[in-house]
Structure formats: structure tokens, C-alpha cells
């Protein structure tokens, strides 16, 4: 597949993070994060474990609270106001490492729940939307099953479809393939590539460097709560500037 040719990035800002700091107790997990994401950008965030990359994207939809600085998502400033938080969350989709499907609801109900209750979409219309996206992730035939009956890869694709049913402007992926068998990683990555090609704004925490090369137009490397280096993937992988990045890449790509 061609690298980031057909993908156009607008100049409209989707997410803007300024001087954001976060502490867990006295532990300084995120330090002076400055990041601007444009509409249609596909960003891969890499880094060793404990570097704060998951915490960073979880701050964007307020699953984690930040203590200093500002986060603006789609023009809405993230504050402690519950109404603002719910508005941002309904515009931002998220996929988790452990899928977090609702085990007591069928696949279809998982997908229609938020549109019906948050968007107030009529049930029939919500089901049509859900089937559309389930077809997109290639599992429409599993709609009536329960999450426990599906494989990990299928569950993650349902999770992606569930997020898409809310028609989000931005998608966050928190290590979406880390809990999957090697065979299933591909089917999930294919879905994500397809999504990227359609121009979805994506922030992706992942260790899949092949995916980063293929679809990202920016790779961010984090360590100890800071953004150490960010660059276009070609440049990032072939010509890393920081010694910390070089060490990380040599370890992750060395085998």
C-alpha cells in the first residue's frame, strides 16, 4: 500500500493541548505536553511502557483528569463541567486494549446503545447504522451473538464499529492490538487502515511499527511523560534524532 499519499490533512485544528501536566499523587506522569492535531491527521504514539502515552490519550476524552494546562477538543475546552465532558466524549470514539464490550448485550445492542441514548436516534435507524458499520468491519453475521462468543479480533472490530456508530470526529486507540493473537492483529489493523484511508482523525498508541509506517503522517515518541521526538514516519524510523529514540527503535526493530 502506498504511504500517506492519498491522505490529505486540513488546517483545521481537531485537538490542541497546551502545557498540559498531570500527576498521579506526587508522581509527575505527563510533563508540559504541547500537541496540536489537525483534522484528518493520523498520529501514532510510541514509547516504552510507563512513558505516559496511554495516559495522554485518556486525558483527551477525560477518562483521566489533567491538573494543569488546557485541552481543547473540536473547539470545546475540556473542563470539569460534566456537560462539556459528555459532549466531547460523544464526539471522540475510543478503543481499548481489552475491547471493553458490554458482555450482557448482544453485538447489535452494543452498537446501538450509545446512538439511542446519547444521540436520541430512533431504534430502527440506530440498528441500520450499526449494521452498516458492522458490515464495514466485516462481521454483520455476528450481530445477534454476545461478545463472549467472539474471538478477540472480532471483539476489537466490534469495539471499533461501536465507536463509529456515534459518528465520531476523532478516534483514539489505546493499544488496540496488544491483547490479540498474532493472527488476529492483522484483521484489526486492516480495519484501522481502512478507517485511516477514509480520512478519520486518529490518535493511536501502538507498538505496531509497520502500521505506523503505513498510515501515520506523524509519529510521536514519548518517554518519562514527555514528548521526546515527533516526525514524519519515514524520517522518524530512518533518521531518529534523539539518542533515546534511537535506543528504543534499535530494541523494537532489532529482531
Amino acid at each position: 500500500m502506498t504511504t500517506q499519499t492519498a491522505m490529505n490533512v486540513s488546517t483545521e485544528v481537531a485537538i490542541s493541548i497546551e502545557k498540559m501536566n498531570k500527576w498521579y499523587g506526587t508522581f509527575h506522569v505527563l510533563r508540559d505536553i504541547d500537541l496540536t492535531v489537525y483534522q484528518g491527521e493520523r498520529i501514532v504514539i510510541a514509547g516504552p511502557s510507563g512513558s505516559g502515552k496511554s495516559t495522554l490519550i485518556r486525558c483527551i476524552n477525560a477518562l483521566e483528569e489533567h491538573q494543569q494546562g488546557s485541552i481543547t477538543v473540536d473547539g470545546t475546552l475540556l473542563s470539569s463541567d460534566v456537560k462539556n465532558i459528555d459532549k466531547i466524549r460523544s464526539e471522540v470514539g475510543m478503543c481499548f486494549q481489552h475491547f471493553n464490550l458490554f458482555p450482557h448485550l448482544s453485538i447489535l445492542e452494543n452498537c446501538t446503545l450509545a446512538p439511542i441514548w446519547v444521540r436520541k436516534t430512533p431504534k430502527k435507524e440506530a440498528e441500520e447504522i450499526a449494521m452498516h458499520f458492522l458490515e464495514k468491519v466485516k462481521i454483520p453475521d455476528q450481530a445477534d451473538k454476545y461478545p463472549g462468543q467472539l474471538s478477540g479480533g472480532q471483539q476489537q472490530r466490534v469495539a471499533i464499529a461501536r465507536s463509529l456508530c456515534m459518528r465520531p470526529r476523532i478516534m483514539l486507540f489505546d493499544e488496540p492490538t496488544s491483547a490479540l493473537d498474532p493472527e488476529m492483529i492483522k484483521e484489526v489493523l486492516d480495519t484501522m487502515v481502512e478507517l485511516a484511508e477514509e480520512g478519520m482523525t486518529m490518535l493511536c498508541v501502538t507498538h505496531e511499527m509497520g502500521f505506523a509506517r503505513q498510515v501515520a503522517n506523524r509519529v510521536i515518541f514519548m518517554d518519562e511523560g514527555q514528548i521526546v521526538e515527533q516526525n514524519e514516519p519515514e524520517e522518524f524510523f530512518n533518521n531518529p534524532k534523539s539518542p533515546r529514540t534511537q535506543l528504543f527503535l534499535s530494541q523494537i526493530l532489532g529482531h
Binding site: 464490550l101 458490554f102 450482557h104 461501536r162
Partner: protein, 432 residues
Amino acid sequence: MSDTHAHSAAFVRTEQVPPAPPPASATGPVKWAKDNLFSTPLYSVLTVAALYVIYVILGNTLPWIFSGVWNTSSLAECREVLDGVSGGCFSVLTERWNQLLFGFKYPVDQYWRPSLAFVLFFAAAAPVLFYKMPRKLLLFTAIFPFLAYWLIWGGTILTPILALVGVVAGYFVYQRFVAGSFAAGFFGGIAAAFVVWIIGGLLIPDNANEGAMLRAVPSRDLGGFMLNMMLGVACVSLSVPLGIALALGRQSDMPLIKWICVVFIEFIRGVPLITLLFVASVMLAYFFPPGTTTDLFLRVVIMITMFSAAYIAEVIRGGLAALPRGQYEAADSLGLDYPQAMRLIILPQALKISIPGIVNVAVGLFKDTTLVSVISMFDLVGMIRGPILASTEWNGVYWELLGFAALLFFVVCYGISQYSQWLERQLATDHR
């Protein structure tokens, strides 16, 4: 094929082996007994010993039951009829049947009223217990408490209608304001209901009970197993929602709500139920405005409900804690607000996990309703210990009466237990 292939490794089956029945030693009751009863010498000894114990127990109780007497009018007559033979004096059950079920003061010609309420109870409970039934039946469930109150206590129909109107008014106010904020809807609804009740209470004339369609029966005339059922049903159905509210409140981020719930739960759990019942019978009147007399039945319901709600809250808290954090996060990340996340995602799963614990509390609560006999309410056990055993005719008929009480409670509790297991199987969708 030539003979040279006969000794080579290759093999081709030319005819099928027909399926044959297994040998007798590998199937049937003989095999079962050998596997389960006589697999080792020790098991054989235990089996024989157990059979002997069963024989002794049944050998003594069955004749006692089968040669029992059912139609005499006193224990002395029983002894005459039995003439030294071992046998139960079950006549007490037939002769005092109505007292055992309805107590000794409920007007005899009005027994049809609680009986009808009991039958309607099943219709009201069905759509709650079996979620596949049409949801419209829940409307009857909502009306049932008021209908049952009117049937059992009688008196003017204005009282239950006023209560119903108050609840409906509260519900509409809640609907109106809940969009703004949950607290506004909740407290607005409660306030509206109280306003309706107070104004309506002033409008109902004092002599409304005279000439009412159903004769008024005061609470102190209720008794027998009916009283146990009424207390059990009322307290279980009130304490489950209260327990959910307490469990959620205990997890609240708001310190005031959290501490109210913690103090309530810890205090109530730390006090014996019997103490609370004494409080209900003598002391609770001090907490109500002077001049008002609150019905003893209502006071007991409040106390038992608080007691079991505290236990149910802790059971549900366990269920909430058992849910992975990811469920909360997924609900949040989809933009569901707190009430939606709780109602649609968290509580259905937490309650499912909590079913065995909730049923445990409910069964215990139902049996604990017999404790009201110590504050001189004549429930089933109160009737047996009081009027029946104290009477000259039946003084000394312990086994038959208490065995009957045990049997009644067992039937109900075993039914609840079977239902809960069925429900758990129905809800098992996670395929773990």
C-alpha cells in the same frame, strides 16, 4: 490387490464394524451403583451406614405421619383415638387452619379479601420476575400495592387512591425536572407527592371509613402466615431499590452522600434486628410529629426494610466492585451520562453478579419476619406460640404446629431459591 501387500504397513478397511451395545457391566443401574455407591470398601461402608440412618429416620417418622389424626377437636381426643399408637395430632392444623393463615382477629367473613390479594400478587409479580412477559403488565404491578392495601385493610377507597395520586404526581414532577438535573427531579418528585398527600389527607373526612364498601380492619387484627407474606413482600420489594441507592451512594464522589450512606449501612448492620423491632414497637413514635399515630405495621416495615437494605447494599457493592474498570470507562467514553451508565451498563451486570447474595438476604429477611412475634404481633409463629399452644385444647402439640410452619417457610424459600437459579441461567450471556 495381490498378496504381497498383506504384510506391508498399508491398510484399507473393506467392511464397517457395526455399532454394538456396551456390555451390561459398563452401563445401567449396576454400573451407576458400582461407580457411585460401592467404588471403594470405605464408600461401601458409608453407603450401608447412610442407608441405615435413612431407614431409622423414615421408619419412625412415616408411621407417625401416616397414622396421624386429622379430625378431632382437642389433643385429649387425639390421644384417645390413637390409643397409645405413635401418631401425629394434625387435627390442630385443620381446626385452626384459618387462624394459622389469617390470625385470630381478622373478620372471618372477610377472608376472601386477603385471599384475593394473594392471588393477584402472582399476577403483579409475574412481569417483574419473568422479563419476557409483556411490559404493559407492569402497569398492574404498579397499581397492585394500592389495590392490595385496600383489599386487606379495607376502609375508604379514598386512602389508596390518594396515595396513588401522590405517587403519580411525584412521578410527573420528576419527569418534568429530571432533564435539568437528577437531584431537582428526585427531590421535586418527593416534595410533590408529600404536598398531594398532606392536602388530600385534610380533604378526606374523618368518618370516611363508616359505610365504606369494604369494612375497615385495623393493623393489629392482621396475623398468621398472611402477616409474614405481607411483611416479606413489602420489605423485599422496598429494600432492593433502597439497597441499590445505598450501594451507589457509598461509591459516590460527593462526600456528604457517601458518608450518609456509610454511616447508615454500618450502623444498621451493627444492630440486631430484634433491637430495631423493639425500637419500632415502642420508640419510633418519638421520631414522628407529636399527635400522629403511625401504624405498627408501617413501623415494622420501615425497620425491616432498613435492616435488609443495608445488607443488600453491601451485596450490590460487591457486585459493583467485581466489574472491570473497563466497563465504566467504555460507558464513559461513549458519552453516556452517570444515570445512563448505571442503568444500562453497570447495574444490569452488577445485579446479575449479586443475584445469589440478594436472594440470600431476601430469604433470610422472609424468615426473620417471624421475629415480629416478640413484639406481640401474631404472625404464624406468634399464633402458634400464643393463642394456639396456650389454648387448653391444643397445649402440647409442638411437632405438628412447628413442623407445619417449617414446611410453609421451606416451600416459599425453596421456590425463591429455584427461581433465582433459573434467572441466573437465563441471564448467563457472558459465556465465561
